[in-house]
Symmetry: C2
Amino acid sequence: MTTVPRVLCPSLRKRIMSAKDAAALIPSGVNVGMSGFTGAGYPKAVPQALAEHIREQKTQGENYRISVWTGASTAPELDGALAEVDGIEMRLPYQSDPVCRQKINDGKMEYIDIHLSHVAQHAWSGFFGKLDIAIIEVSGITEDGRLIPSSSIGNNKTWIDQADKVILEVNYAQSAGLEGMHDVYYGTALPPRRKPIDITRPDERFGEKYLMCAPEKVIAVVETNAPDRNSRFSDPDENSCRIASHLLDFYTTEVENKRLPANLLPLQSGVGNIANAVMAGLNEGPFNNMTAYTEVLQDGMLAMLKSGKLAKASATAFSLSPEANKDLAENIDFYRERIILRTQEMSNHPEIIRRLGVIAMNGMIEADIYGNVNSTHVMGSRIMNGIGGSGDFARNGYLSVFMTPSTAKNGAISTIVPMVSHVDHTEHDVQVIVTEQGLADLRGLSPRQRALNIIEKCAHPDFRPQLRDYFERACAARRGMHTPHLLGEALSWHQRYEETGQM
Amino acid sequence: MTTVPRVLCPSLRKRIMSAKDAAALIPSGVNVGMSGFTGAGYPKAVPQALAEHIREQKTQGENYRISVWTGASTAPELDGALAEVDGIEMRLPYQSDPVCRQKINDGKMEYIDIHLSHVAQHAWSGFFGKLDIAIIEVSGITEDGRLIPSSSIGNNKTWIDQADKVILEVNYAQSAGLEGMHDVYYGTALPPRRKPIDITRPDERFGEKYLMCAPEKVIAVVETNAPDRNSRFSDPDENSCRIASHLLDFYTTEVENKRLPANLLPLQSGVGNIANAVMAGLNEGPFNNMTAYTEVLQDGMLAMLKSGKLAKASATAFSLSPEANKDLAENIDFYRERIILRTQEMSNHPEIIRRLGVIAMNGMIEADIYGNVNSTHVMGSRIMNGIGGSGDFARNGYLSVFMTPSTAKNGAISTIVPMVSHVDHTEHDVQVIVTEQGLADLRGLSPRQRALNIIEKCAHPDFRPQLRDYFERACAARRGMHTPHLLGEALSWHQRYEETGQM
């Protein structure tokens, strides 16, 4: 271990041990709360050591499994490693790992896909059972035992509070300059003792800079030195740029019509390449002095902070490319003045999102002609990732936008379908749908009016005739003209894709 | 007009006119915001006079139509009368009128079904266009021009604020003792200027007792003397009593396990006979000193206030039988100390519902084996009523419960189906499903675990073998084991019902 020691608290120094020894303290059958949100701030060593331990136990015939609760997605060292050895009985509230996904879709792992704002309160309320152990990455431990959070906060406060035992990973690869960037709210309570959360701007602080943990709970401290997942973003492709451009036009019109202030309202942006492209578009666009109240800071928002287009940003996690991560570390003082990382309870809190009037921008798998959105399931049955925080923001924000290219799989799949194969965001929660083809503004429209808009503005021209045909025949059937459907055909596009490889 | 005059403001007395004259002030093509929530506090005279006016205009070949925005449902004198003459171009955000429903399902009226907590802010933000005229029932006008609200508040504050012109109906049939029962919050703002809403208990007041309206906006005052819809409730039937009993057992267990306080948490209850039966059950049950933070007060909650089981209740409207309405009027001082009527923005506000930890109990049309709920559509296409406030409470409450008898149409329909034909509440928002057969507690369960629970605990025994068969074959198909479905069969139950009259 190089450089300045980061475990300064004497009593916790005594708990330093190897990841293998720490993993051996985790019995089979327990519920484990781990840090980690979008591949940032997850424990890197103990889960891998635990996976190895589970593999050994299994060769000896032991059915060794744990349940894993996190902030959101993690990385191969956590979800991948534990899923690989079939070590996860139950996973919540979000995942995006390929091995994990495969195990879930093979029926070898249970998975509960939960609104991210619900997780901490449901855990605290005991809805998931008892949390036994927390494994939390931090970037340091102060002399008096306070924990300096890492590159995400997620549910760490709740896991530490709720678990009987805590294992800390102190990651020397995280920038020491993260200290002071966090805001951990310790004023939460269970009803009926809850108070208003006193925040009226995205950049207000109302919590502590450190996580607190009773030292006697800490059963192990493991020192690590490994980077976050830090996946590279692809350069914005043509479709992403078109989506961004449609959105910018829309916001410009909204500002002109005084339905949005000149600096917009606090931005929330989902994770991924399209979201990143939209941020790149906003960085070139006409709006200044913007703010963000979001879950995750990707490269795009960092660039906007750097250019000054974005004044302040609040999130619960980073999700950066290696280059952006290097930039963050090198300019940590600049960013620390402009970024606040909060618990995900707060980054996704309905109260705050509603009050601030957040503009919610999220990706999706598909939308139907009436404006229902599927964010989670491929062809109705197979989980992709999960709903994450999209519901927290879409339901409670000022505007809810969903984005996707109009086709997938080289044009074999239309992302605009007669009926979505799974609903995560209902027609009541979807105001704007954008594809590279155009933008459908659904506000103030009835279902049939929405259908015409979505087909003509968002669907790919190759699929428009088929969609019009479905809609017209559904209307002609006169089974009910509020939301005309043909029950025998509503899901036939998905079925056809499965049978023929083409919708 | 009998008894003491209720239009005390001299300048507004000068605006008193007949309903017919007032209706003639409403041009075709305008957006009209009307009072009314669950058949309470809606204007009784002007809409009927307007319907007559429209009928006359239509006989002369004029295409005379308006758009109607309300709090929620109204009554035959409003929705029924205007729908009958095809006078409504667009209706929002909720309706439950048979004529209205028929017109929507016949494609003769556009309808937008909106979360009730969204309506005021979306109108204020200009998402529905400009509001031209408000027609608001009040129970009186003070000498200085303040308006004493009626038996519902709904969106009245917003309609009065947003409309260019206001027509007031002063209804002498409403109890004069309503004065002082209301709490109209005037602290709302558009983002980014919103502040925390300072309420921590259901019985706290933070607004005004009166509605304010600039007198120069008032173009007509119409005196009326007509009762609210005041539909009779049916006596709780065996199924409703069983549902209530399952819920009481569940709450008892939750209290024992310390997941709920001994007096539960503030109750929200949807409208209808089952909801009323649940309240009757709670009135006989073991819990004391309960509170309610809900949309609508039905007979059941009035009885609970009377017995003392319910200490305080907050809502935006009454929905009472004639007997309960008589009781309310006769004991108005007693009830005024225990009831607060608020704007629906506040009764349904995500911030408040989340903070108070409301227990949300709502009816539904059907649920599927994975816990998705359909609250609005019959067989996927035909609107029944609308989502109302169920989403506001289910998403943001502490617990979300959905209830229905397990069959409908004398056993021809199973309300537990393989896939719901329309989704209003996603799997992420549904924690408890109750039928007369039993209660499925879905917390902490993956989709397949939910399916087993819902089939075995909630489905009617006549449909269980079919549901098990679907689920088992869907699992066997191995298209994806997270949410196993057979796309070609998922909606076949609804299709079979339409073709054969039997699921």
